[in-house]
Amino acid sequence: MKKRAFILSAMASATLCLASGAIAQDKFKIGLILPMTGPFASTGKQIEAAARLYMAQNGDTVGGKKVELIVKDDTSAPDVTKRIAQELVVNDKVNVLAGFGLTPLALATAPIATQSKTPLVVMAAATSSITEASPFIIRTSFTLPQASVSMADWAPNHGIKKVVTLVSDYGPGMDAEKYFKDRFLFNGGQVVDSLRVPMRNPDFAPFLQKVRDLKPDAMFVFVPSGAGAALMKQFAERGMDKAGIKLIGTGDITDDDILNGMGEVAVGVVTSHHYSTSHNSAVNKKFVAAFEKANAGLRPNFMAVGGYDGMRVIYEAAKATKGGSGDALLAAMKGQIFESPRGPMFIDAQTRDVVHNIYIRKVEKVNGQLYNQEFETLKDVKDPGKNK
């Protein structure tokens, strides 16, 4: 009862604000909230660059209105994200909220999206439950269960029966561990141990040593993109590849952003992910070339593609609704099917989540640079987290 009253009064005041602002509304405003500082700053950078690239390529007018991109830094603190989102909705009267580098940031903002009926496009965060937090949330990034489950399907067919999982101790890490474990056990494999590494972890050594002592066929890893390099180095330093332990994981550990700097140690690592810079399609080649040109040679990674596709979804929906907002804009976002630099993808109209191909890739040297070369494709993977 109280909840309904709360939402009603919130909606009333929101409508009042929107109504008073609607008259002056001749712009289509996108509120892009990203972690531009702090440990996840590279995510923010990639997404902003991709968003601006899309705007540069597709013009800044859509549905008859001028597009305004408002970029805000939330320093990865959820209460700040929520306040910024609230201000964007109430003060700037944005048509759509976008960005969200981490799960807690998206979850915190979900009630705002619902109350103000503003579509919220998640371009980076990857925990399954996010799209369920509000009926206005659309995702264009990926979910960890998608990548983990795909790996758990691939591994048993390639001689990997015994695995130790090693993940960072936070939401996406636990998602990755759970979904990999469940599917791997279902496929007849054995998970010897599940280790969790604290987020503020300076040294992987003890964890890797433990894995080594357990002697599995492979180690399944998920760590956020920055830590992947350190992990790989220590993996090699500890002689684990020589001890016959393979390194498998989700693509976050071979993040294109820093892959090239990882050196020889990364070659041969097999990962599962939805995007690789070396994906062999005309659309992707065009995207990568344009991105590198506009950003001094910076290679786009999966964060960038989440941002790029997110903008695409927003633009197309804006075109269809002539720069609309609210329910109409949301409806125009659902069910979009298109070719993204990552491959074909669509936004599931029921779950509002992204459905795309997951590729199994191996790191190889191509023309002197390291790339994740795709060699197997699992088509149209839905988020397993929703099937519960």
């Binding site: 500082t37 702090g38 440990p39 700053a41 590279s42 950078k45 101790d169 280790l195 969790r196 590494v197 604290p198 503020r200 972890n201 300076p202 040294d203 050594a205 003890p206 964890f207 040593q209 433990k210 920055g226 830590a227 390099a229 350190a230 180095k233 220590q234 090699a236 330093e237 500890r238 002689g239 952003d257 820093i258 700097g261 990882m262 050196g263 910076l298």
Partner: protein
């Protein structure tokens, strides 16, 4: 055994990084939270030299030291010196401000992703002793290198402190700057040199640690906590104090994460809390020291 080895390597690295902080805090009574920034400078200097100018790793190390030391000397003279008389809180504010500036500047010039260092071939690799026995010892060559360098530095530092003129001047200034000045010791010069060396050591530590700890613009803020722990537990009145504290913490952290991974980070903090409650002045305090 390998865990012990790893813990010692980690601890020695922490020591080199933190010893400068310990000495400046004990000597100048100045809380310098920007100490991590000097480490970061050393690390980035090394990475840039290696990646863009192909300078060999071994040459980069003394360059990291010198670079950070020079920066320290310059900053000490210009910015830090007026701060000595200010209350601790102002010093905290000041050094945090400096740290912020350093973090943002590095982000601007180099970018915010993790920097990856390519070690020379002879440092990659591993030696295994006694495989299969309970005393199995696997030693990464790089960690061996770290231990060797840090041990040499420690011996060197201890020698300078106890057997040279400068060392005794330093110790005198730590104990009582006014009396030392009264005895004709040029305290300002001592301060400046010590600060420079301390920063230089931090830079060296940053360069050595980039491989093991990772290097990105948020480095100073991330690791400040660990440096402070070493200084708090080890006390500020000697070199051996922080050394033992660093080793203890390094081994405890590594061993804790290996044997009880669920409690991972707890171990270090709880251990520190326990030690500080038992011996609030730090574990190893000289009588009559501060």
């Amino acid at each position: 055994m390998t865990i012990l080895f790893d813990g010692i390597a980690y601890g020695m690295l922490l020591f080199i990084l933190a010893v400068g902080l310990s000495v400046t805090m004990g000597l100048m009574n100045f809380i310098n939270l920007a100490h991590g920034a000097f480490a970061m400078v050393g690390g980035y200097l090394t990475v840039v030299l290696m990646q863009r100018f192909d300078v060999p790793f071994l040459v980069c190390l003394p360059m990291a030291f010198t670079g950070a030391a020079l920066l320290g000397a310059v900053l000490e003279r210009t910015l830090y010196r007026p701060m000595y008389r200010k209350p601790h809180l102002d010093q905290v504010l000041f050094s945090i401000g400096l740290a912020f500036m350093a973090v943002a500047s590095v982000d601007y010039f180099v970018g915010s992703q993790q920097q990856i260092m390519q070690l020379p071939e002879w440092l990659k690799g591993r030696t295994e002793l006694g495989t299969g026995t309970p005393w199995e010892l696997g030693m990464g060559h790089y960690r061996l290198f770290i231990i060797a360098v840090c041990a040499a530095l420690t011996v060197g530092l201890q020698y300078v402190l106890s057997a040279t003129r400068f060392g005794s001047r330093l110790r005198a200034s730590v104990d009582d700057p006014r009396v030392a000045a009264g005895m004709g010791i040029n305290v300002n010069v001592v301060f400046a040199m010590t600060f420079a060396v301390g920063s230089g050591l931090a830079g060296l530590g940053g360069a050595l640690g980039a491989e093991v700890l990772g290097l990105d613009p948020t480095f100073p803020l991330k690791f400040m906590v660990y440096f402070l722990i070493v200084v708090a537990v080890g006390g500020t009145s000697s070199i051996t104090g922080p050394l033992l504290a660093a080793l203890l913490l390094g081994v405890a952290d590594v061993a804790g994460k290996y044997y009880v991974p669920k409690l991972g980070a707890f171990i270090v903090y709880s251990l520190m809390l326990a030690i500080l409650m038992w011996r609030p002045q730090g574990l190893f305090v000289r009588q009559g020291g501060k």
